[in-house]
């Protein structure tokens, strides 16, 4: 499929100088945006760039603190998404927000069913539903439960409902995230049809290839500001990635001399590990005293890779060997027994036990490994907690305070201490510096370097290219749920990584 070149019509939906503040945090700052009739306008940005805040303002879920939204040139202020919907802005989310327990026809017309003497005219609704869906190339039994159809069909029914009820602007919020390749193509056909009908379509996705395949223009946000709006025929994928990540490619040089390649023996080897729909099979060796960085955009399969390695998700192919011996890892307990540790991305949700003390948080994995009958007594607990708190410089008034009262950086170190207490040989860190103030970043990086010197094998997932480059001996790049490149030596530089992330994107799909 080639980039669409049709010149779009007049602006339908415009945002001017939008600003939005949540507490101390400025989510959007002076953002301009415009969607024209008959164009697909992609909206891109990493986590926290302000995409979803902007969309929520455009669709009425939030009200802007600054700036104005114009629909067909007239200023509008939507109270809620329903009002936005009634005035012409329909939204379709990744999770289909329809009713799986009701018929397709009812889902299309709920709340707008034609009635006679107060009774719904079922046959009229069903005939209308068949008519509407036919224009999307969909011939299904409209009386069947929506839930009996695939997500792709449900997604199209959701689009049909949004277009029927709104009809000017269609916002697609990651509509393809849970679809397979074939279904994505169907979705694209539907979007092309709607474009020809003159709708303004705003398309949000992580997948760059889909942006290039489908969109006419792209607007990129970073840290709540607009980086730019470009016609896709004028830019390359590399330009887009660079705008998203905000990397100044002038500095190319690898700052430290740690990239001389692996030295120690192989600690862990993954051979063809994969799970259909999550991560394509990948092979990776990690050596003693080595840090392997994982780079890639959000949704590229980085976290899924870590979850497979740690047995959180069950792989459907591949083998694992630890210190040369084949090992079975089917759940996290087996991974811990094999000497693995995993600090997950969402600290608050998956990592800390906020109401437990620092001491309890540190010893919990060790205690779980020891089992029920070898309970650590208080002195042992205090000693272990004290030892790691000192080693990692965890700053807490005392070790009995609830861990939720600590700063993000210190919480992260508590989780690190927890895994170090079981004396792991392989540690996975998923975004160890996310949500930590900038000063603490350097400390986490220092800790990673020290663990490497102690002979651990580490896999570190991070969106911060500067950091990955600073501590990695090798870097693997994920794209579209596939391990696409392995970089070492001179190639460990932001520019090379950006290129690897963006490569081939324009040719795909």
């Amino acid at each position: 499929m080639q980039t669409a070149t049709t010149d779009a019509g007049a602006p339908v939906l415009q945002a001017r100088g939008i600003g939005k503040v949540f507490g101390q945090h400025r989510a959007l700052d002076g953002v301009d945006f415009e969607a024209r009739a008959g164009e697909v306008h992609a909206l891109l940005g990493e986590n926290g760039a302000g995409k979803s805040t902007l969309i929520k303002i455009l669709t009425g879920a939030y009200q802007p603190d600054e700036g104005e939204v114009l629909l067909n040139g007239a200023p509008v202020a939507f109270r809620d998404p329903l009002q936005a919907q009634a005035q012409g802005i329909g939204t379709v989310y990744q999770e289909v927000n329809l009713l799986p327990n009701r018929s397709v026809a009812e889902n299309l017309f709920l709340g707008h069913q034609p009635t006679r003497f107060g009774l719904i005219r079922k046959s009229v609704i069903e005939a209308r539903a068949r008519e509407v869906l036919a224009t999307y190339g969909l011939e299904i039994d409209v009386r069947a439960e929506l839930g009996s159809y695939s997500v792709a069909i449900q997604q199209i029914v959701a689009i049909a409902r949004a277009v029927e009820l709104s009809g000017k602007v269609l916002v697609l919020d990651e509509p393809t995230a849970s679809l397979d390749r074939n279904e994505v193509q169907r979705m694209f056909d539907v979007v092309e049809r709607l474009k020809k009908r003159g709708l303004a379509i705003i398309f949000i996705t992580h997948f760059l290839d889909q942006v290039f395949a489908l969109s006419d223009r792209v607007t990129i946000l970073r840290n709540g500001r607009k980086v730019g709006t470009e016609r896709l025929q004028d830019v390359t994928a590399t330009d887009v990635v660079r705008m998203m990540l905000g990397k100044d490619l002038a500095f190319e040089h690898h700052p430290t001399g740690i990239n001389e390649g692996p030295t120690g023996p192989v600690r862990v080897e993954f051979n063809g590990l994969g799970k259909a729909g999550r991560v394509a099979p990948f092979s990776l060796k990690l050596h003693e005293g080595e840090v392997v960085g994982v780079a890639g955009l959000l949704g590229s399969g980085r976290t899924e890779m870590a979850r497979l390695m740690f047995g959180v998700d069950l792989p459907d192919s591949g083998q694992v060997s630890v210190d040369g011996k084949p090992t079975t890892i089917r759940n996290p307990a087996q991974a811990v027994a094999a000497g693995f540790g995993f600090c997950p991305e969402d600290r608050k949700l998956d990592g800390i036990f906020g109401d437990l003390s620092v001491r309890e948080n540190i010893i919990i994995a060790l205690q779980a490994k020891l089992g029920w009958f070898r309970a650590l007594n208080r002195d042992e607990q205090d000693e272990i907690a004290g030892q790691y708190a000192e080693a990692l410089d965890i700053r807490a008034a005392n070790h009995d305070m609830p861990v939720k009262l600590l700063s993000g950086g210190n919480q992260q170190k508590v989780i690190l201490a927890r895994w170090l207490a079981i004396d792991p040989s392989f540690l996975i860190l998923d975004e160890p510096t996310r949500g930590i103030d900038v000063g603490a970043h350097a400390e986490i990086v220092r800790t990673i370097n020290r663990l490497r010197e102690d002979g651990l094998a580490l896999l570190v997932i991070s969106s911060e290219l500067d950091e990955v480059v600073a501590y990695s001996n090798r870097i693997v790049v994920m794209r579209d749920r596939e391990l696409v490149a392995e970089l070492s030596g001179e190639d460990i530089a932001p520019a090379v990584i950006v290129k690897a992330i963006a490569e081939n994107n324009t040719g795909a799909a």
Partner: protein, 325 residues
Amino acid sequence: MNRSLRPLAATATIFLLAYAAATFQYPGMLSTRVLGNFLTDNAFLGIAAVGMTFVIISGGIDLSVGAVIGFTTVLIAVLVMWAGLHPLVAFAVALGVSAAFGAAMGAAIHYLKVPSFIVTLAGMFLARGGASVLSPDSIGIKHEFYTAVSKSYLLMPGGGRLSVVGLIMVAVFLAAILLAHRTRFGSYVYALGGNETSAALMGVPVARTTIQIYMLSSVLAGLAGIVFSLYTSAGYSLSALGVELDAIAAVVIGGTLLTGGYGFVAGTFIGVMLQGLVQTYIVFDGSLSSWWTKIVIGALLFMFIVLQRLIFTASAPNRKVLWKA
């Protein structure tokens, strides 16, 4: 077959088999006389179960039903016997009071975001307590209207009598079937039970619908109270104890999913009739303790919960892909 129809079909089949077995043993059970008694004796339960059906389809529960029935019988008795009002006026007052009561519960559930279980539990204590405050003792109702009603019936072929209260129940069921399946209100009830967030995003007036659902349940409980009052000619604060649980049992046995989103008013009718059948069988047998009713209902209920779990997990969305070529 549509998977939500399966529990209903199972209930209907079990009812027919059980009825056939019962008539095989006691041929006398196959008569319109017995059918007439079925309808009369279970009228208050059936009417209350209709309201419960809407509540459960919407994903909630209403534990106040039995207490509202009890309260209504006392209120009517007090208004008729002590205040000297005409029963019809007393009925109107009772329906108005129960509507307000249900609306208050619905509003609390929606605006305070309190689970319906807790709110209606509080409602149950309030209504039961209120009834005892009005009159702790049973009050007999003597009024020519009551005498006239209890003497009126439709003669069915075969000599069976369809009483006024039985007729009211049948009418309530027919109206409720239309309400559930052919009105926007009905589709909103199913929508809330399916997914409240989606329903709100699709424009379902969640607050209004929630309040209406609990109003409907309480009004029908009030109507059940009126029927109970006509049926017993008395008002007593402790009458209809535990009827909410019988109603829930009838609804679930009738194929409505306790987690909401799926169900049929007609199924509830069969559920009520199945309970009536067990009771009638015990009367015909003569030697069994009436507690056997509870045991059979318990066993049926358990069976249906297992059945629903099997049907709704085993046949989770099968992926039909029917693209136009």
